[in-house]
Symmetry: C2
Subunit: 203 residues, 2 copies
């Protein structure tokens, strides 16, 4: 029950902060939306900062779960798995009317400069997100689907940061075009595999 | 004198918002920092939103001035001008200890979803930033420095959004490595020109 309440606060806070940002979201608003009395917040969290750090963990867990579902699915060749993952995200953002973007990127943009605890947490988060891509890229090199001259670590990091920028453009353009352009450039020029018409996958 | 005060408010607000974001910056803090009495704010600006939109114009003007200084300098071949511009920005962010990032990207991340007036202004801003790159890329195609198969419009947009993402990573990693990785991937794989050791330029 206690864990339920805590989890409900994190999920509610995550949803509101994803849209409005960390600073612009009040603890009271989270409690009101979750229907939880004020006193209990500090039973679970030391501070709003502590809460924000746990919201980031929640988002990273969510991301790793989705990406592992695609990148870990060995029934497809490695680069195809990346293609399916990007396709899933592009459809996801279509369904949310091009809003929200990546919560990790949003937090990084907002808090990276001003709060060292957030920065450290975000750095670790981006590292663990990159690691999954590194594994798939190494597998693709091994199986001859990817040039041996491509550094897997750098490529994974470039793919992730470039994707974060594409999400920023998506929000402003209200279109998935920046995401499709990202995918096309990554596939056509970096991975040198064709970025075909997306296979439609359900989410 | 009146214009002086207005300009001083915009420059002060721009500096604070660049670091802390729009929502996290109060009008009072801007007035205090600029040493201007409270009453006068609303002589110049209809609202904090109106102020924010003028801060964006200020930043875009600043960016276009810097980028034109490099991209418009016909004493270098077109791709070399892009290289010099990126090099200048990489040095700039070294000098600011990897903070701040692109104000347009920060605003887009924070306000793109929640405020249509900001979104419209940011879209126009990114368009005008891309246009300068399109011109240089077209010139490079014309002079045989760039493959004719590369779409200048898409390439310019990819370069800008990918750069925005690299700046986000820079803030979290406290290093220019994401910017150098960006530059290397854009030059080596997209523009197919060598990303050499940067010529050091002063700023």
């Amino acid at each position: 029950m206690k864990e339920d309440t805590k989890q409900r606060l994190i999920m509610t806070g995550a949803r509101i902060m994803h849209l409005k940002g960390f600073n612009n979201t009040g603890i009271q608003e989270i409690l009101d939306t979750a229907g939880i009395p004020k006193g209990s917040f500090y039973n679970f969290f030391k501070s709003k900062e502590d809460f924000g750090l746990q919201v980031i963990d929640y988002f990273v867990g969510f991301f790793l779960q989705i990406s592992n579902q695609f990148l870990g699915d060995k029934s497809h060749p490695p680069l195809e798995r990346i293609r399916l993952l990007l396709g899933w995200f592009i459809e996801f953002f279509e369904s949310t009317d091009y809003t929200l973007g990546c919560p990790i990127g949003n937090f990084a943009q907002e808090m990276g400069d001003v709060n060292p605890a957030f920065r450290e947490k975000l750095k670790t988060s981006l590292d663990s997100m990159a690691r999954q891509f590194v594994d798939v890229l190494l597998e693709a090199r091994e199986s001859g689907h990817l040039s041996k001259t491509l550094n897997a670590q750098d490529t994974a990091r470039f793919m992730i940061s470039s994707w974060e920028g594409a999400l920023m453009s998506m929000k402003v353009e209200k279109s998935t075009e920046p995401l499709e352009t990202h995918a096309r450039f990554i596939f056509d020029y970096i991975l040198k595999a064709e970025w075909k018409t997306l296979e439609r996958v359900t989410h």
